[in-house]
């Protein structure tokens, strides 16, 4: 894959792959090992957190398309990292979103949140929800709860770091 053509996006935006879609990979162990290694890359690459999470959903029966697309994206973006700006603010801002019944095999929803501290991205997550949500509101409030829990943990951390002057917490979620 070292000579592959770069892709401008890390994942197919049309929809998620179901279990039996695409060709099985020739070497499942190599896929699993690569997917494990990519989880380390998400430490400084929020842009691939969602595609890596999707790749990891197929560990038991690896298929080609998702991982290949992600590797082609990485080919063009190997110099990406995390940029921290000098910011005097300790305001925490949380954004959350969920798709509703995004997983084609289980009808479960996918959660995503990001937490910014004074404009710097410090925490983010992309996970498939544990239970089936019966409405988009259900899917959304589950991820709001997780995002707020992360932010209150960060507030506690900031208090311990003697950084909490005024405990500001702002948020936005994907609900219309």
């Amino acid at each position: 894959m070292t000579g592959c053509k770069p892709s401008s996006t890390p994942v197919d935006t049309q929809g998620k792959l179901s279990e039996a879609e695409g060709n099985p990979v020739a070497n499942p162990t190599a896929y699993q090992s690569l997917a494990g290694a990519l989880q380390y890359l998400t430490f400084t690459r929020p842009d691939i957190t969602y595609p890596v999470q999707q790749v990891c959903l197929h560990m038991h029966d690896p298929r080609e398309p998702a991982l290949k697309r992600l590797l082609r994206y990485l080919q063009g973006t190997v110099d990406y990292g995390l940029l921290l700006h000098r910011s005097p603010s300790t305001e925490l801002v949380v954004y959350t979103d969920a798709d509703w019944a995004g997983c084609p095999d289980t009808q479960r929803s996918t959660s995503g949140y990001t937490v910014f501290l004074g404009g710097n991205l410090v925490s983010w997550s992309s996970t498939r929800q544990q239970v089936v949500s019966r409405s988009s509101a259900e899917a959304e409030y589950r991820v709001v709860a997780n995002g707020v829990a992360e932010a209150s943990w960060l507030r506690q951390l900031l208090a311990e770091l003697h950084m909490m002057d005024k405990s500001l917490l702002a948020g936005g979620c994907g609900l219309q």
Partner: protein, 156 residues
């Protein structure tokens, strides 16, 4: 294990206050832990005492590969940091906070890797030299791969 959000929070606070950040590495970390349990070990091949080949060792300190090793090492360094005046953070086991008067330092511990930042260069140097007297230490300076600061640091 240290939460990555803690690392990014501490680095972004250090950047906001223009504090020096150093990356330290403890050599042979797992050999420094003291064992509280009884662990025996056979004589290693090539180092068998010919007069007493049937005897075995009882270990005082931990070795790589022991299931006790990571915990023994963490207890050892945590106890030492407490003697320096650090406090273990409640929100993250791997974060140690030094806060005395106007002086503040944050220490992040990931097995044998340490990220240390302090409100002044003299405090940072004092802590590093105290650590060096207790453990063999490699000071990797300000090298932190993949995390970029948007402005160049004035002092390191």
């Amino acid at each position: 294990m240290v939460k990555l959000a803690t690392v990014r929070t501490v680095l972004s606070l250090a950047l906001a206050r223009s504090w020096p950040v150093h990356h330290l590495d403890v050599k042979n970390a797992f050999l420094h832990g003291h064992l509280t349990e009884t662990v025996y070990c056979s004589q290693p091949a090539g180092f068998v005492d010919s007069s007493r080949p049937d005897m075995i060792y009882r270990l005082n300190k931990s070795l790589y590969g022991l299931k006790q090793a990571p915990r023994a090492w963490h207890s050892r360094i945590a106890a030492f940091l407490l003697t320096l005046g650090f406090v273990e953070a409640k929100s993250d086991m791997s974060l140690f906070i030094y806060h005395h008067g106007a002086e503040t330092a944050y220490l992040l511990l990931y097995v044998h890797d340490i990220v240390l930042t302090a409100s002044s260069l003299s405090l940072l140097r004092r802590i590093i030299s105290a650590l060096q007297q207790e453990f063999p230490l490699k000071d990797l300076g300000v090298h932190l791969s993949s995390i970029t600061f948007s402005e160049s640091r004035s002092h390191c």
